[in-house]
């Protein structure tokens, strides 16, 4: 058998990646020891920092702020070139000039979540108590912790009520958490491809990813940073497995089928003969260039723990009792990670709370990833929902 190419080493060194952790190419809000972040696990995280980007201007009434919540492997660079990868912002289809969330009309905020690795305090940050990278000494964080930190950020920015909170997947979980924890601070909520709790299947997939990271000998019980290395093989496998769950059978078949990669015949080896293999390997190796392995463990854990109903006596509707927030819930037909049934359960709970809710299921074969892709029907709905809410809020959404 010929040589077997495994996942290539990342082109960007661990040093380059960790530079963004400590010195992000973003705005940074520092919170000193007088303002600890109260975590659900019982720990007060202090000091800590939040890295964030803003687009557009806050109006005089401070009523046009839109918080974008990023998904598991996203970050604050929603609508600008990414400082590490050089790629366009991850949600430029939805956010940007001429887009449904236009900086001409809104003051757009997107922050890196607590536990992340793009400048907000997380396991890749330096623990001020030891002078070393936190690693697994970092406390376990939850979705409510992420949102609590975001609330502290908007306090710092002098914003009382957000006009809208918008997010998909883990970002959608944060949107729902915002409405459950701070209903009076959220005028409208756009929750996309998400759920009020993480399903057993999704926890199972996350556990698979975590075990792949931990099985990499370079992980060193989470202490790889002190050794100047990164478990990129394990993290890449985790990303490959997760990436499959973001797509669909139909989308994979349409995109790759059984087509071969740069060859006519099978090589009778374990090389990436099929295009789909090559694609997944690329997804894995490009991911590890910008993401920290421990951060991946913490953020997947946060999603696993998420269950809004459990925080409200097991009755989901209680989480949204008498809520005034205007909701728009969107799901995609081929999303099997956060299927429409999850959105429907949310909508039923919102109906039971007499909340003002719109719910649209969009037909696409592109799976969970559809929320990040060019899906015109989704943009039309997002635009109309925000315009209608903006009108009710008295925002000036005319061209200016």
């Amino acid at each position: 058998m010929g040589s077997v190419k495994s996942i290539p080493s990342p082109a960007i060194s661990a040093d380059e990646r960790s530079h963004e952790v400590d010195h992000p190419s973003s705005l940074v809000a520092h919170f000193g020891t007088e303002q600890p972040l109260r975590l659900d696990c019982g720990v007060d995280l202090s000091p800590f920092q939040i890295a964030y980007q803003t687009y557009g201007e806050l109006n005089a009434d401070r009523s046009n702020a839109v918080m974008i919540c990023h998904a598991l492997t996203g970050d604050q660079h929603v609508a600008n070139v990414h400082p590490v990868t050089g790629k366009p912002g991850w949600w430029e289809t939805l956010v940007g000039p001429g887009r449904p969330i236009d900086p001409k009309h809104y003051f757009i905020i997107c922050s890196n979540v607590i536990g992340g690795c793009m400048g907000s305090t997380g396991p890749a940050s330096i623990n001020p108590a030891t002078g070393k990278v936190w690693g697994l000494d970092f406390p376990v964080i939850t979705i409510p912790d992420m949102v609590r930190a975001q609330a502290m950020l908007i306090d710092r920015l002098g914003i009382d009520t957000l006009f809208a909170v918008v997010g998909g997947s883990m970002g959608g979980m944060q949107v729902l958490q915002w409405t459950a924890a701070y209903p009076e601070r959220v005028y409208s909520a756009l929750a996309i491809a998400c759920a009020t709790r993480h399903s057993a299947q999704n926890i199972a997939f996350h556990e698979l990813g975590r075990q792949a990271v931990m099985a990499d000998p370079d992980w060193h019980g989470g202490g790889y940073a002190d050794r100047g290395i990164h478990p990129h093989r394990g993290l890449a496998v985790a990303r490959m497995a997760a990436h499959i769950t973001y797509l669909s059978d139909a989308a994979l078949h349409r995109k790759f089928g059984r087509r071969m990669q740069d060859r006519e015949l099978p090589t009778f080896s374990f090389d990436a003969d099929f295009q789909v293999e090559s694609y997944l390997r690329y997804q894995g190796s490009s991911f590890v260039e910008r993401f920290d392995a421990n951060s991946y463990l913490y953020l997947t854990r946060a999603m696993d723990y998420f269950d809004i109903a459990a925080d409200h006596g097991g009755v989901l509707a209680k989480a949204f009792a008498d809520i005034k927030t205007r909701f728009c819930v969107v799901s995609f037909t081929s999303d099997w990670l956060f299927p429409t049934s999850e959105s429907r359960a949310l909508v039923h709970a919102l109906n039971a709370s007499s909340a003002r809710v719109s719910f649209a299921e969009i037909e696409t074969d592109r799976g969970h990833d559809a929320f990040l892709l060019d899906v015109p029907e989704f943009f039309d709905i997002s635009r109309a929902f925000l315009q209608s809410a903006g009108k009710a809020r008295g925002l000036n959404l005319e061209d200016r």
Partner: protein, 220 residues
């Protein structure tokens, strides 16, 4: 309930027409401004838009995904759902009015749906095509085939309308489940109200469709 107690709504014929359907205008006239309304089977959201122009807080349920998405793209608060299965998720007294516009005949269990309407809403407004309309009768009597009209063009084998009734049937159902009829109007083929001084059987003969404003009855 006797026929005479069912009084048609006044002033409907003078309502501004615009581009809205006659039955929609009639329904909108029955809703007090400032109310909270659920439109079950809201289609493309035309009625909800009309209600919003009158300062009414409107919500909708629609079965077809295309209809829902068109509504949401108009900025309306509409969810995808089924009148037969999803009304149970709404709490009692959640709305001032629940509207079922041209949908009753397409539900699997009209009686259960009607009961749910008046549980969720303090009042219900129901409009439906009248199968007792003379054209319907004539087609069955003379033509010997299932009736089809301008407003109900589908054939018997592909129609979504599985539970047709006449005005008389509907009044009997309301009586049976102790529903009070506060107002009722029959519209002729051109959307004009059938004159209220005519006897009940004329309504059932010349009303192409009917609109009823209902509330919970007092009888135990």
């Amino acid at each position: 309930m006797s026929v005479q107690e069912v009084l048609p709504l006044n002033g409907v014929a003078t309502a501004p027409s615009g581009d809205y359907r006659a039955d929609h205008r009639l329904v909108a006239e029955m809703v007090k401004p400032g109310s909270k309304v659920l439109d079950v089977g809201c289609g493309d959201g035309d009625l909800l838009q009309l209600l919003e122009t009158r300062g009414i807080d409107g919500r909708g349920i629609e079965l077809s995904r295309e209809g829902v998405n068109r509504c949401v793209a108009k900025g309306l608060a509409v969810v995808q759902g089924d009148a037969d299965t999803d009304l149970v998720n709404y709490p009692d007294d959640a709305f001032d009015y629940v509207i079922l516009s041209q949908t009753l005949q397409a539900t699997r269990q009209p009686k259960v749906v009607l009961e749910n309407l008046l549980r969720i809403g303090r009042r219900a407004i129901v409009s439906f095509p009248n199968f007792g309309f003379w054209k319907m009768r004539l087609q069955l009597l003379i033509g010997g085939h299932m009736p089809r009209t301008e407003n109900l063009p589908a054939t018997w084998y592909d129609t979504a309308n599985i539970h047709f009734c006449t005005i008389k049937d509907f009044v009997q159902l309301c009586d049976e489940i102790n529903v009070k009829m506060e107002r009722s109007v029959a519209l002729d083929l051109y959307g004009r109200p059938v004159p209220l001084n005519l006897p009940w059987w004329v309504w059932n003969m010349f009303g192409e469709q009917a609109v009823f404003l209902l509330s919970r009855g007092g009888r135990k």
